[in-house]
């Protein structure tokens, strides 16, 4: 269902697509009352991951997570770092191709680990609003569809979750002090998370 080679291409594509939208993510961060640097942070995170190697899922994800956490800073470092860390912990040793169950387990593991570092859940206007539904949809969809279709469904869920943050009031992160004024713009982290799932989907559909 998903080879390590394909997954590396998905990560690389996510890096490119996030990179193209750097300014937008920073602007969203500023608009919702944050410090206007989420684009800078997420781009730095993907830059740190660019040269990472690893023959199988476990070692690749572990290296990604370490590279990200030691080079990138801010909330992004721990949040995305823990996500990748959890994904790596959920796959077996030396696995180079995942079946449907393996994909579901990997993404569920990521969500679980990120859940340890933040109390934020759906409705709190954070990246969790994109990640939670995307993970849920992906885990279901892989059972009956190929990777391309499953990731597309996940990307749609992530995008819908990100859009839904517009109407929310921030509860976590630097935007929370804005109170009602945080209502309106999308959450920056949710937007970048949706962008990542979207890139995964585009890449998964190829070939």
């Amino acid at each position: 269902m998903l080879t390590i080679g394909k997954f590396k291409k998905m990560v690389a594509r996510a890096g490119r697509e996030v990179g193209a939208r750097e300014k937008e993510f920073s602007r969203l961060d500023a608009e919702a009352g944050g410090d206007g640097d989420h684009g800078t942070a997420i781009v730095a995170a993907f830059r740190a991951m660019q040269t990472v190697e690893g023959a199988d899922f476990k070692s690749y994800l572990k290296s990604l997570s370490e590279a990200l956490q030691s080079s990138a800073c801010g909330s992004t470092s721990t949040l995305y770092g823990s996500w990748l860390e959890g994904m790596g912990e959920a796959v077996g040793e030396a696995v180079m191709e995942l079946d449907a169950e393996g994909v579901a387990a990997m993404f569920s593991g990521g969500l679980e680990e990120i859940g340890f570092v933040t109390r934020a859940r759906e409705g709190h206007k954070t990246l969790m609003d994109a990640l939670i539904p995307a993970t849920r949809v992906l885990s279901e969809a892989v059972k009956n569809a190929d990777a391309g279709i499953a990731f597309s469904a996940a990307a749609e869920a992530a995008e819908a979750g990100a859009m839904a943050t517009c109407a929310m009031q921030a509860k976590y992160g630097r935007a929370k002090n804005l109170g009602e004024r945080s209502i309106g713009p999308r959450d920056a982290g949710a937007a970048s998370m949706a962008c990542i799932f979207n890139a995964f989907a585009h890449e998964a559909k190829l070939n």
Binding site: D35, Q69, S70, C73, G74, T78, T118
Partner: protein, 332 residues
């Protein structure tokens, strides 16, 4: 259009500013392992170490307060961004000791998450460390959950109290008690007139209308409190100090420390005018101004505004605040 800032490659800001700090204060601090700023003359291992973490771009905070009688180390992130958990863990390993470590974390999501992760790992390794979280910003309301308040420049006098106590050789439990008491007894409010430019991406953070100011704005221009038309210095000081008096519950006869922290473009002239106004209100109420300072401690680039910090002092705090200190940007 280039930013109106004296910088080189925006990716290297933090590394370059730390290098400058090390050259300028080579007798006081040195940089270890890239982004850990330590004392040039470390104190002995049998004393409690005091460490903090946080983003750069707020100079002199946090690294400007590393030195004799204050911090043993600061773990530096990037501009406005907490260091990653691995760096924090590395610093904790470096200062592992019987006497223990106190880690001061300002309550911001990134800092909390990095510290939290590092502390979990440190615990597994048997490193003795106690975290003190500052969250003295009262803009979310006096009764707000501490978890929902931000840590502003109040960390600076706390570093002084903790550092002095550690230097004296006090045990970790006693220091933590003293520090947590100081922490509970302080409150901060911030006010901003203009936003700033993020020095890495050149974009504006927190734009304010030409005729408005905002009380309750955070460390990076994050909004928070109430916007109003521009008030006079006296009126601004009055609104702020009255809330701080309420929050710290100081009364006639109590000793306090009053600090004004300029966040960037607001001149010391203005800060002193505000200091004057706030201290007069304290005097009217019989509150005793025992200690204080006015100047830049924790800045937010070229933002115009300041933070006002009021700390209720117990006798032991008063003594510790007066103890010798020799950090690059704090001497006593």
């Amino acid at each position: 259009m280039p930013m109106k800032k004296f910088i080189n490659d925006p990716q290297n800001l933090t590394a370059e500013l730390l290098e400058g700090l090390e050259i300028c204060f080579s007798n006081k601090i040195r940089i270890v392992s890239d982004k850990i700023v330590c004392r040039a003359n470390p104190k002995s291992d049998d004393k409690v170490a005091v460490i903090t973490l946080g983003g750069a771009g707020h100079e002199p905070a946090l690294s400007g307060f590393v030195g004799e009688g204050m911090l043993d180390a600061s773990v530096v992130g990037d501009i406005f961004a907490a260091p990653g958990a691995p760096k924090v863990l590395e610093a904790l390993r470096m200062f592992k000791r019987e006497a223990g470590i106190i880690l001061v974390t300002l309550n911001h999501a990134g800092d909390r998450m990095s510290a939290g992760k590092a502390l979990r790992d440190a615990a597994k390794e048997g490193i003795k460390v106690v975290e003190i979280v500052t969250s003295e910003d009262i803009s979310a309301g006096i009764d707000a959950d501490p978890e929902d308040r931000r840590g502003l420049a109040g960390c600076v006098p706390l570093y002084k109290v903790l550092g002095a106590a550690a230097e004296k050789g006090m045990g970790i439990d006693e220091i933590v008690e003293l520090g947590e008491r100081f922490n509970r007894q302080m409150a901060t409010l911030a006010v901003a007139m203009t936003g700033c430019t993020h020095p890495q991406n050149g974009d504006p953070v927190a734009v304010l209308p030409d005729d408005e100011m905002e009380i309750g704005m955070g460390q990076h221009g994050e909004a928070g409190g109430g916007r109003s038309k521009i008030l006079t210095a006296d009126e601004t000081a009055k609104r702020m100090i009255e809330q701080l008096i309420k929050a710290t519950d100081v009364n006639s006869g109590d000793n306090v420390m009053l600090l004004i922290n300029g966040v960037g473009a607001t001149t010391l002239m203005e800060q002193l005018i505000v200091y004057r106004a706030a201290s007069k209100i304290l005097a009217e109420r019989g509150i005793v101004l025992t200690d204080g300072w006015c100047g830049e401690m924790l800045t937010v680039q070229e933002m115009a505004g300041f933070q006002m910090i009021l700390c209720k002092l117990d006798a032991d705090h008063i003594e510790l605040l007066k103890a010798p200190a020799a950090a690059p940007y704090w001497s006593a």
